[in-house]
């Protein structure tokens, strides 16, 4: 038997090498910290999540308690964001609105991903006719304006937070399918997938063990972006009056009422919930863009 110590062979080995995933995770952490966009996005998003989770503790008032004599008061020490037409504290309502936004931001990508990722994997792995049919189906969903599709679905399902999340999830399925398919197609072409097939591995095993892990980074970025889009879409639906039913304070529904008071000078009624939407969406978008840069070395300007 010839010896196998060719080239850089089996000479002294330093400490136990880390798995490529662990090494990649470390490199990821390093690159993430250096990416200001990503860090900024993470901070804003973390702040948003924290405020949402701690809303019951932080809110000075019960967001549903009506205090008619104190209605439509401007920002003050007692009511930092002012009060609404029933005298409810807008600061507390915006804080509680963050809870709705957070639920939407977390659940929508989960729902959309749960359906879109498998579709994308199958389309990318099987290819051919199946790919064509699945992706054209996705395109046809994609062709509907998101807001129109969301409106229709909520009208069909009925108004509740769960139904809205499901509706938003359906709206964003095609994006997950596309992103996953895109990654899967390139991985499927790789030699190790062909080798796995030549060894008699089952399709399910190949897809789950050898293809899916390589799609995760793209899916993660998509989830972040979808979170931002979902917040906007939920707010839009609430603004149009088909969102989370009152009295639950959603940013969009506060805005809807607040817009009636813009002309009469009660600016705080719409400005603060509007700003909340902007900040939350900005946070997720920055995080998403930052993640994309960090996960894909080719687009990272801070490399």
């Amino acid at each position: 038997m010839t010896d196998a110590t060719d080239a850089d062979g089996a000479t002294a080995e330093p400490a136990r090498p880390q798995s490529p995933l662990a090494r990649r995770a470390r490199a990821f952490g390093r690159r993430f910290r250096r990416n200001r966009l990503a860090v900024g996005g993470l901070l804003v998003t973390a702040g948003f999540v924290l405020l949402a989770v701690l809303a019951p503790v932080l809110a000075p008032y019960d967001p549903a308690v009506v205090d008619v004599p104190a209605r439509l008061q401007g920002p003050s020490l007692a009511h930092p964001f002012g009060t609404d037409r029933y005298g409810r504290d807008l600061f507390s309502r915006v804080l509680y609105g963050a809870r709705i936004a957070l639920q939407v931001a977390v659940a929508t990508p989960l729902v959309a991903g749960a359906v879109g990722v498998p579709i994308g994997l199958v389309a990318g792995y099987v290819g051919g006719r199946v790919d064509d049919v699945l992706m054209r189906l996705m395109d046809s969903i994609f062709a509907f304006p998101a807001i129109l599709l969301g409106l229709t679905l909520v009208a069909v399902f009925g108004q509740s937070l769960t139904n809205i999340v499901v509706a938003l999830g359906i709206v964003y399925i095609p994006q997950f399918a596309r992103v996953t398919r895109g990654s899967a197609v390139s991985v499927v072409e790789e030699e190790h997938v062909r080798v796995a097939r030549s060894l008699g591995a089952s399709h399910a095993r190949i897809v789950l063990v050898h293809v899916l892990p390589f799609c995760l980074s793209a899916i993660l970025v998509q989830a972040t972006v979808t979170a931002a889009l979902a917040i906007v879409l939920e707010s839009s639906l609430s603004f149009l009056g088909v969102g989370v039913p009152s009295p639950t304070p959603s940013w969009g529904s506060i805005l809807r009422v607040g817009k009636g008071y813009v002309d009469s000078g009660e600016w705080w009624y719409s400005v603060f919930p509007g700003m909340a939407i902007v900040v939350a969406v900005l946070g997720f978008n920055l995080l998403g863009d930052g993640l994309r840069d960090v996960l894909d070395p080719r687009t990272d300007p801070n490399r």
Binding site: M1, T2, D3, A4, T5, D6, A7, D8, G9, A10, E13, P17, S19, P20, L21, G127, G128, E190, E191, H192, R194, V195, A196, R197, S198, L199, G200, A201, S202, H203, R205, V209, H210, P213
Partner: protein, 349 residues
């Protein structure tokens, strides 16, 4: 002589329906247990596609003809059947060994996976088997290297590990597709020795594909020469190397450096034909020095059998040069012709 374990008849693989590209155009051969068969030819001759077609590893293309594995038809067989044969009946080793492994899993775990795919063993037994396999292919400290990741293996070691992975299902036939290409010459020699040992010890058959005649002639007792999707000559190693009968085989031999003989290399003029639009008649005729206008560019060449003194194995070439219609010449020793079988008339087109 025993029955062949692999019997290929008129295997044809084409890609695309409109304007099909025929990568493999009707090849036939037998492979018996323990036999070593080499397929040589230039890049793009269809060698790789022809072996991938055997076990249904062609995705977009269409495979026709017949492939019998131990009497069982594989062309058109359900995926379940093919999966059972992949790995445990027919193992495969490919060119780029480092890419053969999933980069995010350890080499050991992937060999264990391959063991599990075709054999019912406990995790512990599968791990022990994987370590034995790594040892068998000559990896030093197999237990220590078991948990290494593919990038920690050098090219030659990765190829050995890929061979171990292909052996995990205890295949009766190992198909090696350019297994030494891209490796250092010294590493190549080690891999060639390894194949020779494995074939002898495991009594398995080897189907070796290479553009490197040196590697093929070291390992294979029988050799087929493929050109533009067809087999143009076949015979024993000695027959092909000592008395090539097809002009392409001769040209191919003269284009390879030989350490023992100092002579100028003769590149084959022109370039391999595009398979989108292969030449009519004999596909080698545009590059063939002895091509006869009106004959070689028109009719599909007949198969000519040769009576050889060297071996009693069949030696065949598909060439017009041995027929009376061709002016002949020094390149064609008509005295050796044993029989001539006209080409089957082309049905399609």
């Amino acid at each position: 002589m025993t029955d062949p374990i692999l019997r290929v008849r008129n295997l044809r693989t084409q890609f695309g329906r409109r304007d099909p590209l025929v990568a493999v155009d009707g090849i036939s051969y037998d492979l018996r247990a323990g036999e070593t068969l080499g397929i040589v030819g230039e890049s793009g001759a269809g060698k790789s596609v022809s072996v991938r077609s055997l076990v249904g590893l062609i995705d977009e293309g269409e495979v026709t003809g017949s492939v019998e594995w131990r009497g069982q038809e594989l062309v058109g067989a359900p995926t379940r059947t093919l999966r059972g044969i992949r790995g445990s009946g027919i193992g495969m080793v490919f060119q780029n060994a480092e890419a053969a492994f999933d980069p995010i899993e350890t080499v050991g775990s992937q060999i264990v996976e391959a063991v599990h795919a075709s054999r019912d063993l406990s995790n512990q037994a599968a791990r022990a088997e994987a370590i034995d396999l790594l040892e068998e292919v000559g990896i030093g400290d197999p237990a220590g290297r078991f948990d290494d990741y593919p990038h920690e293996y050098s090219g030659g070691m990765a190829q050995r590990a890929a061979i171990a992975m292909a052996l995990a299902g205890e295949p009766d036939l190992l198909i090696a597709d350019e297994p030494t290409t891209g490796l250092d010459v010294s590493v190549q020699a080690g891999i060639v020795d390894l194949f020779r040992d494995l074939v002898a010890e495991r009594e398995m058959s080897l189907l070796l594909i290479s553009h490197d005649l040196g590697v093929v002639s070291q390992l294979c007792t029988r050799i087929m020469v493929m050109y533009a999707g067809r087999i143009v000559e076949r015979g024993s190693r000695r027959q092909l190397l000592d008395s090539p009968r097809h002009p392409y085989t001769g040209a191919f031999l003269r284009s390879v450096p030989d350490v023992d003989v100092r002579r100028a290399l003769e590149p084959i003029g022109g370039s391999p034909p595009s398979l989108d639009d292969p030449p009519s008649g004999c596909r080698f005729h545009p590059r063939c020095p002895a091509a006869d206008a009106g004959l070689c560019d028109g009719a599909t060449p007949p198969t000519v059998g040769f009576a050889e003194e060297i071996d009693d194995e069949g030696h065949e070439a598909t060439c017009h040069g041995y027929t009376d219609a061709h002016p002949g010449g020094d390149a064609f020793d008509r005295g050796a012709v044993d029989w001539v079988e006209p080409a089957p008339s082309e049905v399609d087109e």
